[in-house]
């Protein structure tokens, strides 16, 4: 069997859940006849019909709000944002209603909001952002950022079954670039559990999403230079798997936190703070943050290249940290 792409893995995951549970239904813009802007829902209209694959008006707040209302009636809605950038138009429904509903009045809102995010596709300021930190700052949500096809499939399935609202960030640059052989049978990946992507002894790179692959390349380079580098793929940002992070820090004593989102107020600061609070004595150097600079995501290739953290930058900072 040919390797499965990250995109196809998500599609399979949704498909299987739709087959398993008639309460699962999809809503979003152009997800039906067109199969979604990125084709994640391709073929679903034909298989499941227009009652379960609902093309909506361009109205993100209505999409998310309707998903919440349907979830109260016992359905399992999966809402697609055409681009994560436009999730802002549904922001209020997510952070002010879905996230608080269980806490406020004991009415959980088990929805999934899928959001194709990330740069590297020359999308410019409105089609490239990584807005995960906004949602990580919202108690009551779960925030997922898979890096591999295996995890993308297992996590979308887990997200659909989860009884709390989940924001599922799919990295657009990974859609067709990342692939692997997936197991034949059905599986899920637990939400809230990080994964050791690559083992190492001397240094840890803690990251998620597309940057897992950048970190892995950098780690391979460092290995050649005699620095055994571990890569932790967080997979879920909320709730954060602190245990796996701290275990890696205690093992290697040197840490880089890497993300594609902009640096100030990013999840990297939170992770660095937790490490210094809870594993300070194990550290042999400052916690290093590598992230995009505090700018919008630019369009022109040289600008976007300068914006996105890359392997060379990670290697350079890793060398300095190793020498610290």
């Amino acid at each position: 069997m040919p390797a499965t792409t990250y995109l196809e893995a998500i599609r399979q995951g949704i498909w299987e859940e739709m087959e398993r549970d008639p309460n699962v239904f999809l809503l979003g813009e152009d997800i039906g006849i067109y199969g979604g802007a990125f084709k994640v829902t391709q073929g679903m209209l034909e298989r499941f019909g227009d009652k379960r694959v609902v093309d909506t008006p361009i109205a993100e707040s209505a999409i998310v709000g309707a998903a919440i209302g349907a979830s109260f009636m016992g359905l399992r809605p999966v809402a697609e944002m055409q681009f994560a950038d436009f999730i802002t138009c549904g922001f209020d429904q997510i952070v002010n209603f879905a996230a608080k509903s269980r806490y406020r009045w004991n009415a959980p809102a088990p929805i999934v909001v899928r959001a194709p995010s990330g740069g590297g596709i020359h999308g410019g300021p409105y089609h490239s952002q990584n807005p995960e930190a906004w949602f990580v700052h919202t108690p009551g949500l779960k925030v997922i950022t898979p890096a591999t096809a295996y995890d993308a499939k297992g996590l979308i399935k887990a997200a659909i079954r989860d009884n709390d609202p989940v924001i599922f960030f799919e990295h657009k640059a990974l859609y067709r670039r990342v692939k692997e052989d997936l197991p034949e049978g059905e599986y899920t990946v637990p939400i809230g559990k990080a994964r050791v992507h690559r083992e190492g002894r001397d240094m840890s790179i803690i990251t998620y999403g597309a940057m897992v692959h950048v970190a892995a390349e950098a780690a391979a380079q460092m290995e050649k230079e005699g620095v055994s580098t571990e890569v932790i793929d967080l997979r879920t940002l909320l709730p954060l798997d602190e245990e796996t992070i701290l275990a890696s820090v205690r093992k290697t004593s040197k840490v880089i936190v890497l993300h594609e989102a902009t640096i100030t107020g990013g999840i990297g600061g939170e992770i660095a703070a937790r490490i210094t609070e809870k594993a300070f004595e194990w550290l042999d150097g400052p916690v290093v943050r590598i992230a995009a600079p505090d700018t919008p995501v630019p369009y022109s290739p040289p600008l976007e290249e300068a914006f996105l953290p890359n392997t060379a930058t990670v290697v350079e900072r890793a060398r300095r940290l190793a020498a610290y």
Binding site: T56, S61, F97, W105, N106
Partner: protein, 349 residues
């Protein structure tokens, strides 16, 4: 098709909690019996809210915002009594009567306002921000009009489930300015979702009069933009609201999609308990006091021989007793333990 989530259908209050029987023989006829229910719920909302706004709030026993529906109670109650117990209600912040109709008592309401364990949200949220999914009444979302897309989604789900239940969504005139209102109705309209939309046009949104809120004359004018029927009724005439809601519910249940009712009324209070409403032209208070929905209803009941003055007085006395008892009960309900703070943010094992 899909399994309908099991819900405990609420006991619909047949005529009220401790309401006494009327002496008039005509009270058995259906219109008279309906009037009696209206009278009970309208008076109960008025009494409970008066107690909250004019007593408990001023005594410092209730903290935070207090929004009441004085003068516009007929809207929630008139439409709420059209809803079947399995229909889903999305009240706005002036629709306390809907909670009573769904069998939630004054005890739970007072405890809710006082932040006690006995309140509907156990102290997690306050005032009108309460709901109970088992009784199919969805908690108010504080952001105006945010309930419209949610109600649209609930209605879509009911349709998908093949249920004959429908959703009732209540909101104010100011809420109709927000994008959510338009997005939600547009979605419900294209989906032909069974949704009854009820606007209480009380002519103010906080201090902002209608003409600064919208440039069209009536909220109902907006219906045409979404291809849905809309009508205007006297929101202070509970029978008129009831009949309009029947038309709307019939339309929605027949699979014809959303239906908008604009109820003209007036907010006989400031925006909330801290607000005296000084910006309201003085003459309006008197003009609208004369159109009070409870007075209007009582006049009709006496006129038609559906009740005697004595009946109505006994009803009022019973409601006062019920309210007194409920306040005592709520004051005895404990505050939540601080350990509750971090509970139920997520599903707990």
């Amino acid at each position: 098709m899909a399994a309908v989530k099991s819900v405990t259908l609420p006991e619909l209050n047949p005529s009220g909690f401790g309401a006494p029987e009327f002496s008039t023989p005509e009270s058995q006829d259906s219109e008279a019996a309906l009037a009696r229910r209206f009278y009970y719920f309208l008076s109960l909302q008025r009494e409970v809210e008066d107690r909250i706004e004019r007593k408990l709030y001023r005594q410092g026993k209730i903290l935070g915002g207090v929004y009441v529906g004085r003068g516009q109670e007929a809207i929630g109650i008139g439409a709420g009594l059209v809803a079947r117990p399995d229909d889903v209600l999305f009240p706005c912040h002036r629709d306390l009567g809907l909670y009573f109709i769904r069998g939630i008592g004054p005890r739970e309401v007072f405890a809710q306002y006082m932040g006690r364990v006995g309140g509907l949200t156990g102290g997690k949220d306050g005032n009108m921000h309460m709901g109970d999914l088992n009784r199919r009444i969805v908690a108010i979302i504080s952001a105006m009009a945010a309930s419209v897309p949610v109600a649209a989604g609930a209605a879509m789900a009911l349709k998908y489930q093949g249920s004959s239940s429908i959703a009732f969504n209540f909101f104010g005139d100011g809420a109709t300015s927000r994008g959510d209102w338009h997005e939600g109705i547009n979605l419900a309209a294209v989906q032909k979702a069974p949704l009854v939309l009820i606007c209480n046009n009380n002519q103010y949104a906080y201090s902002t009069p209608l003409e600064k809120q919208m440039a069209c004359r009536h909220v109902a004018d907006r219906g045409v933009a979404y291809g849905i029927p809309a009508e205007i009724v006297d929101g202070n005439d509970v029978f008129a609201v009831y009949q309009a809601a029947q038309r709307a519910a019939e339309h929605a249940r027949a699979g014809k999609g959303p239906y908008l009712i604009e109820c003209k009324t007036f907010r006989m209070t400031g925006h909330s308990a801290h607000d005296g409403g000084d910006y309201v032209p003085k003459h309006l208070w008197g003009e609208w006091a004369a159109k009070d929905p409870i007075l209007k209803l009582a006049g009709k009941m006496l006129d038609r021989g559906w009740a005697t003055e004595g009946d109505l007085e006994r009803m009022q006395a019973a409601i006062k007793r019920e309210t007194d008892e409920a306040v005592d009960w709520a004051e005895r309900s404990p505050y939540p333990d601080a350990s509750e703070l971090t509970r139920n943010v997520y599903e707990e094992a």
